[in-house]
């Protein structure tokens, strides 16, 4: 029991990072119906920007986080403006392929700039272990990751549900064609979506650097795809679904690795995904689209 609770804590840590990245996928998908395959690499860039902030500028934890989120948000918006916006009326798949291209570009741009060897991410908070009732221990990194993620997600949830801009976002994801009629500036909302999604992924990158302090330019690929899977598991386009999906994926992976050799981790996670999609194709919280004839 204690073992499993401890594993749950690890799962929450991993799940938080998946959830932060999954949110960007789901928000962009909700609004543009675009699978932004570059998003995993945005997460990677976030980790490297955080590294730069911490190492070169010598920033402490919170400023590093804010600096990284701001820079990466800017990157996300720039990519959207330069690469995706011209394709808004093109076949949907052209934008997806462009996103794949942008992802490969980011990987190799970083690779060319910082080199291929993995970099160590400095610890930005004091290490420490705290005993919890029931014999559990939690370390400061876990508190940081889970805490920051929950704060960011609650903030996002409030923003989406409680503000006019958030309402406009939801309106666009519901039906983009009518929204301009209501006087909403769609371009601005789309840019904002990319900014928020990228900032969250960047936060995920910095937090990842704290938990698993070796980063390299290809780290975004697998984690990005997995976060995308998390978004789909939750029901893509659904903000709360993405959070849920992130934690479900984190738990699946940690629990599987706890009982089986770790090489089976991906296999089990993806098989579960496959089964879920076969039996519930719209994810857990996804909307079922009625077939219209």
């Amino acid at each position: 029991m204690e073992f499993w609770l401890q594993q749950t804590l690890n799962a929450l840590q991993l799940g938080s990072i998946y959830a932060l990245i999954a949110l960007g996928y789901t928000m962009v998908y909700g609004i543009l119906r675009l699978i932004n395959f570059a998003h995993g690499d945005i997460f990677m860039v976030g980790a490297f920007v955080g590294l730069a902030g911490a190492l070169w500028l010598g920033l402490p934890m919170v400023p590093t986080l804010l600096f990284t989120m701001a820079c990466t948000a800017l990157l996300g918006v720039t990519i959207e403006r330069l690469a995706y916006k011209p394709l808004r009326n093109a076949p949907r798949v052209s934008a997806v392929i462009t996103a794949l291209g942008i992802g490969i570009f980011l990987e190799h741009f970083v690779l060319g700039t910082v080199g291929a060897e993995p970099r160590a991410f400095p610890a930005l908070i004091a290490g420490g272990r705290f005993d919890l009732p029931g014999g559990l221990t939690v370390n400061s990194v876990q508190i940081l990751i889970i805490g920051v993620s929950v704060v960011l997600m609650l903030g996002l949830d409030w923003f989406i549900r409680g503000t006019l801009t958030g309402m406009a976002m939801r309106a666009i994801s519901w039906d983009r064609s009518v929204v301009p009629l209501m006087g909403i500036n769609v371009d601005r909302i789309i840019s904002l979506t990319f900014a928020i999604g990228s900032a969250l992924a960047a936060a995920g990158g910095v937090l990842f650097g704290q938990a698993y302090p070796i980063i390299d330019p290809y780290m975004g690929i697998l984690i990005g795809w997995k976060a995308f899977i998390a978004a789909v598991v939750g029901g893509i386009g659904n903000i709360r679904g993405a959070m849920l999906g992130g934690y479900i994926l984190g738990m699946t992976e940690i629990y599987v690795a706890a009982v089986l050799p770790s090489t089976y981790r991906d296999f089990v996670a993806f098989t579960l995904l496959l089964l879920l999609l076969v039996f519930r194709p719209t994810g857990i919280l996804g909307r079922v689209q009625a077939q219209k004839v």
Binding site: V96, I97, G101, H108, L274, V278
Partner: protein, 336 residues
């Protein structure tokens, strides 16, 4: 009906195919070109097979499969196990085509795992199924110790050569072309255009999807086998999502729903990446930027649903040609 087609339009393509084989055979035989260029030509051929086969599902059928390298992996490992472990060594050279076909069949069987969910799911969710399948295949291979697991698998026989690649490219183009321009192939197009309407005018959409996915996977599997016996060392990482992404890029670079597009897309992409080799890692930063620029300027790729006439079966070409002639001649008869 009188058909006035010139000798050239009737025989040009078969002649081109035969001449091509002669060149492909002569190059290694008489060392006509630098072995490095020969190697690139073989990669071009393998990539054409991968691109055309993926185009069948993504371009002609309108699905979005993102895990083509998974099928390639199955083909590569099955074919390699066959030549290394099953077929006696002294026979391997002769039975090589059978090993490749075995790899293709293996990939075709795995394709069922994608085809069956596709009965209920489409679009982005099916994309995810293919992605998951790619990851599962890679993960399974990593856990099979008999083929080296994560350490990779040494394929000691370099059975792939330029004539073989050429023959398989032609077979791929020929079979997929014949499929697309057949009754079943029209069903594939109908699914892309409107799956519900297709089913409701009698297209057995499940059957069509099953066939398209299996054919697509089969040729990806054969390409994987050729790849393995060229590289002589295969590794699960050779067949990860990045490889699938490359194939996707070649498909959309060339243009969906066009075999000529796929031939061009695969050739240009492969050659370009080699030509940019002097740039080191920066070539992989430049190449995707070129792709992005192309997508913005020409979102449907180079060919985009257009086909080179030579890749349309002759009888169909003549049929359409006759209709066009008739239309000109009998405008008055169409009045009633």
């Amino acid at each position: 009906m009188q058909v006035q087609t010139s000798w050239i339009s009737r025989w040009a393509v078969p002649l081109l195919v035969v001449a091509g084989f002669a060149v492909a055979w002569a190059i290694p035989r008489y060392q006509l070109i630098n072995p490095y260029y020969e190697l690139i030509l073989m990669y071009v051929g393998i990539n054409i097979m991968l691109t055309v086969s993926l185009n069948l599902v993504n371009g002609y059928m309108g699905e979005f499969s993102v895990g083509h390298a998974g099928f390639m992996a199955v083909g590569a490992y099955v074919a390699s196990v066959l030549t290394m472990r099953v077929i006696p060594w002294d026979m391997a050279g002769y039975l090589y085509p059978l090993a490749l076909i075995g790899g293709g069949i293996g990939a075709g069987v795995v394709a069922l795992l994608v085809a069956i969910p596709s009965f209920r799911t489409r679009g982005d969710y099916l994309a995810l199924v293919t992605l998951a399948l790619n990851m599962i295949v890679k993960s399974v291979i990593e856990n099979i110790d008999a083929v080296g697991g994560p350490r990779g698998f040494l394929v000691m026989l370099r059975l792939t050569n330029l004539p073989w690649v050429y023959v398989w490219v032609i077979v791929t183009l020929w079979v997929i072309r014949n499929f697309i321009y057949s009754n079943a192939g029209r069903g594939v197009l109908a699914i892309r255009e409107d799956e519900v309407a297709a089913e409701l005018i009698g297209v057995r959409t499940r059957e069509v999807k099953l066939r398209a996915f299996i054919i697509s996977a089969f040729f990806a599997g054969v390409a994987g086998g050729l790849y393995a016996h060229l590289l002589q060392f295969i590794h699960p990482r050779n067949f990860d999502i990045l490889k699938s992404t490359e194939i996707l890029i070649m498909v959309y670079l060339g243009g969906i729903g066009s075999m000529m597009g796929s031939v061009l897309g695969a050739s240009i992409f492969t050659v370009l990446l080699e030509a940019l080799r002097f740039m080191g890692v920066w070539r992989m930063a430049l190449a995707p930027l070129l792709l992005v620029v192309l997508m913005i300027l020409r979102p449907t790729g180079i060919m985009g649903l257009k086909e080179w006439r030579g890749l349309i079966p002759l009888d169909e070409r003549l049929r359409l040609w006759r209709l066009r002639a008739r239309k000109g001649g009998s405008a008055s008869a169409a009045g009633n």
